[in-house]
Point group: D2
Chain length 358, copies 4
């Protein structure tokens, strides 16, 4: 398919199946001279790892090994192979469902497209692939941080429960990346209830990028919001994307939505930020703000009607004891951050091609 790559200058190509030997990626285009270690990446990987409270119980250690591209602890400009071994994979649970079309699941479409589907743990369609994105994103985040760019994702809503106050200190302690202590309690209740029902629920992840310089993104097809939308909708279960006021902008008047410019501390900047940090596809220097909507996890214990490969109607429910995320949006938070980092990293490197040469 040659479509397992993301990015142009800072480019990852991910590979691996959920129940194969390993998942990982090659990162090509990383500038030389960046200090990187397995440990740093593993710290970031921990955030999306299954096994945390309220998410899937898969006991995966998710430890990355760096097989290439480093010398004396620094990047050399050569491609970096990141490998995460799969340890805890019991494929037996998947035998029962290997010959039926799972509702809301990709096995139907993979079979239509490729004529073959690796049913063990969802194969390539598993969200486990996102571990490789997070590992590569950790390197991008480190690079961006040195430029003063900070990316913070958080849970904005789970089902109809919405965070209304934003406290990043709380977000960092929250088991569900929620920045609103009051909303968090209701969210946890909701998740518990949904889990008891053997059901799942959707959610919205928000992401804010502070410290971003003006001038990132290209004005035509590689508008920064277009690249972000592309990145976010490439995530499993993502169904929507907004930048700035998003859909609310459709209800606004130009006189309300336009951000006027002011002079502040000797610098021209926007007085408000309805735009979400972008104008004409290029960053303004104000914080970037966007959200991503996630559907409820398709794998549920509740019984659903479907058909098998012969077309016979069958009742299907996830076998008891299967791994199961009641709300996939939670674990998506670090993945949203990682994809955002990959987009920005690419834009930063891309901008360097515009500079006068020496």
């Amino acid at each position: 398919m040659a479509s397992n790559s993301f990015g142009t200058h800072f480019r990852i190509t991910t590979w691996g199946e959920s129940h194969g030997l390993a998942v990982g990626c090659v990162l090509d285009g990383c500038p030389p001279g960046i200090p990187i270690s397995d440990d740093e990446i593993n710290q970031v990987l921990l955030q999306r790892a299954p096994g945390r409270a309220f998410v899937s119980e898969r006991k995966e250690e998710d430890r990355v090994e760096i097989l290439s591209g480093l010398f004396d602890g620094m990047t050399t400009g050569a491609p970096i192979l990141l490998l995460i071994k799969n340890k805890d994979h019991d494929s037996s649970k998947y035998e029962a469902m290997k010959a039926l079309y799972r509702p809301g699941h990709a096995n139907f479409t993979y079979l239509q497209k490729y004529g073959v589907f690796d049913h063990r743990g969802g194969g390539r369609a598993s969200a486990r692939e996102t571990a490789a994105r997070v590992a590569a994103g950790a390197i991008a985040k480190k690079f961006l941080k040195a430029l003063g760019i900070e990316i913070v994702g958080y849970i904005q809503a789970i089902g109809t429960v919405t965070a209304t106050s934003i406290d990043f200190t709380h977000r960092d302690k929250s088991p569900i990346f929620c920045p609103d202590i009051a909303a968090e309690a209701s969210m946890l209740d909701l998740i518990t209830k949904v889990k008891e029902l053997g059901d799942s629920v959707g959610g919205v992840v928000a992401c804010q990028v502070a410290g971003v310089m003006a001038g990132l993104g290209d004005p035509m097809y590689d508008k920064i919001q277009a690249r972000l939308a592309y990145a976010m909708l490439s995530l499993p279960a993502a169904k929507g994307f907004e930048i700035g006021e998003g859909y609310h902008a459709a209800c606004m008047h130009g006189s309300e939505h336009n951000d006027g410019f002011i002079q502040k501390e000797g610098k021209t900047q926007a007085a408000t930020n309805h735009a979400g940090g972008v104008l004409g596809g290029i960053t303004t220097g104000e914080p970037i703000f966007f959200t991503v909507a996630f559907k409820p996890t398709s794998s549920i214990f509740k019984t659903q009607k479907t058909v098998d490969f012969e077309g016979n109607e069958v009742d299907f429910s996830l076998p008891a004891g299967s791994r199961h995320d009641p709300c996939v949006a939670i674990r998506a938070v670090p993945v949203v951050e990682a994809m955002c980092a990959l987009v920005l990293m690419d834009a930063v490197l891309h901008n360097q091609t515009l500079m006068p040469c020496k």
Copy 2:
């Protein structure tokens, strides 16, 4: 910037400024043997042309000339140069605003990025660039139609007025592509009122694709919804994208959202279509459904506060007699269709690389 191209196999590169000599694109990768004429493309271009009621008064004929790639009225496999001359461009109106930062407009960010901005008619940042997308999209639409694929975009909302019934017959007659005759009346009222105020309003465009085969789109980064989101957020003024239930999916339970499979007329298909025609990034064969949110036009006659290039506060309003779209979403409808056609065309050609070779 090398980012004025869209598509991989069926690839356009657009060029041209609003008040330059012409705008247009090169279309590379068009299969040979497709009959195409200027007239056909011009029919489609008419739909986005300014000068229609309720949109900008620019009297542009928007007539395409095909400079290459045809032989005996058929495509040859060679690149097709589509050229649309600019005739009606009076740049004098733009003199007054060439040294101040226009609220909600891209001149601030272009200057930050490139150090230069062609202020005449908005230069490259003008929505006029989308004429080239529509011209190329017309060729894709023709190709797709031969495969039975029909793309229909329409106005779903203007401001807070939403279409609630969908009648495509009415949509085709509507001056604002609205499929709901009752909502249309309220929308027209709203636009008239907003126009009188010298203001603008946002809107939502929906798009439905019928007759699409299963198997389009790639499961990882080139999920069909990711490519669509990328295409849509690359449109001027676009602020949001949803596929299927979109943000509403975040409020649903898995047991509600999952589309079960049924056997119908000897074929397995989804019983419902909450997914909007995609699973795991690949089309299911059900209609694709997505929406795009557009902000209100940033160019308004109302006075706004901003600063000039020296940082002095100034009151700014669009000079009387300037061209002005009170709701940019309306003219976006054929552009949304065109971008959707480019995405699907690419996916169709891409799928051919998966086939067993002869």
Copy 3:
């Protein structure tokens, strides 16, 4: 085919047929702030224009029009459309050969691949496409010159006559870009004789790049010599490429071929330059030296045996009065320079993505 583009950062997409309305290209990725005019490009275009002594008699003015991407005479970072109208095209001569397979010509393979061939003037297969390369290359050359990089192509051999002394001053005056006044006389004799016979002859173009900085080119697939070879073999009639000692290197010992390093004027550099200015795919700072072999023009007046589309044997010769280049290598000289400039320009911009960010 989506393969009419060359370059990654500084990227051209050419279009147009020999007897169509125009040929040209879009140049995307040109940095902003470069002063460019039609006149400058036309000066360079003159060098490859037909109508010069000893080459094809086509009376084509080859005047470029810049339709986009400039503001106040400077590049803006937006795509640049270069258009060269076709004026002198009498397609009647081509009627006689439209239904037979021309020896050494591409109509056979185009028909095999696309099922259609625009026989008028060779259509897309005509060397006229290279005018667009030269026009874009003129911009790259200007940019590179500002960095101190000078690209000089010349005729090294025509048939078996080889230039043995290199005098660039003479090269600039030579009607055939020959740097050796003695060899030039023999070459002109040879061309005259071949022309009288209605035949053609091959040749070798050499190219030397002085003033190039160390560090251009990437060590794996985008070795500078690999990009140059790709560029050169994409030229019509090119059959071979050498860098440095080229095929002669195969006969050398390592102890002869290796260039030792010395310290000179406080700088480490190679003592000799057998390598032709590259090591491990990356420029050393020594002059780049490469050659390109061109086959004899396939269009000749001599009678040749071939078959028509029905498979009947026919005698074929170019109709009297047809345009005809007795040695295509001569006009290839400025095209080789242009392609070299495009390769180096891309490498220069690419290197900027490796720099530490600010």
Copy 4:
């Protein structure tokens, strides 16, 4: 650098350093349904493996592990991770040369470009990277073979000793892939003598592709010869490329070089094949024939003059007992075949995008 990938549709990204943990590649874009095993690939890898007579003594097993992309022994369309562990790497020999510029070697240019060089075994600059190319090429070769395409590389010359008769049966038994039993004896003598001198010698590899269909390759920048030249000049030590008559074509007349067409067995084909199987960049259906010139190995035991990183003159020779290939062209034969397979595979898949859709 984001330039460690080769191919568009069938795309490899290689990674790994000579003395790192492993080398390998991700292969993306492989069609589903191709049966592949580790063993098959290992058979092909054996051909380039060090440890064969007359090549480097490195005792590397070169056994590939397939970490992803297979299901039930068949490709699934998902990316295939090929991993080859490095076992025999003693980096101590390289300590002595880590602070001087090795003549003919890439450490000078890597340091100029990246500011860092992994000197252990040559790091990323080592020819060991080509093992990953051969492994991926084995999959392409299998696919192509099913289409009837056979790629055979061989030694055409070592130093000034040239194979004059071509016997592929002998080539398959020859320790140096030489198709001429008489020339082989002289070649082996030459290699032995060069080795005794602690020196090295260059060579020429030829490659013939039989059974190739007409229509492969694109007429402009992706001419099949341009892609082949790009692939071949990306090989370590490659200095020249020819297709068909190559440089000899420069000495020919059009009336000699043009291949007339004839009708044979109901099919139009070329009567001769001076062109080497391509016209206008597209395959004719005749065998493709090309050669690649390789310089003598830069690592030699003979003493050479160079400077250290401080600019002091030093005498340098490879430490006794170092691994050393007296003629790098020999081991290049399977790598040339692999790169040729990757080019053709890409062209075959690419052609499918031209077909009328169903």
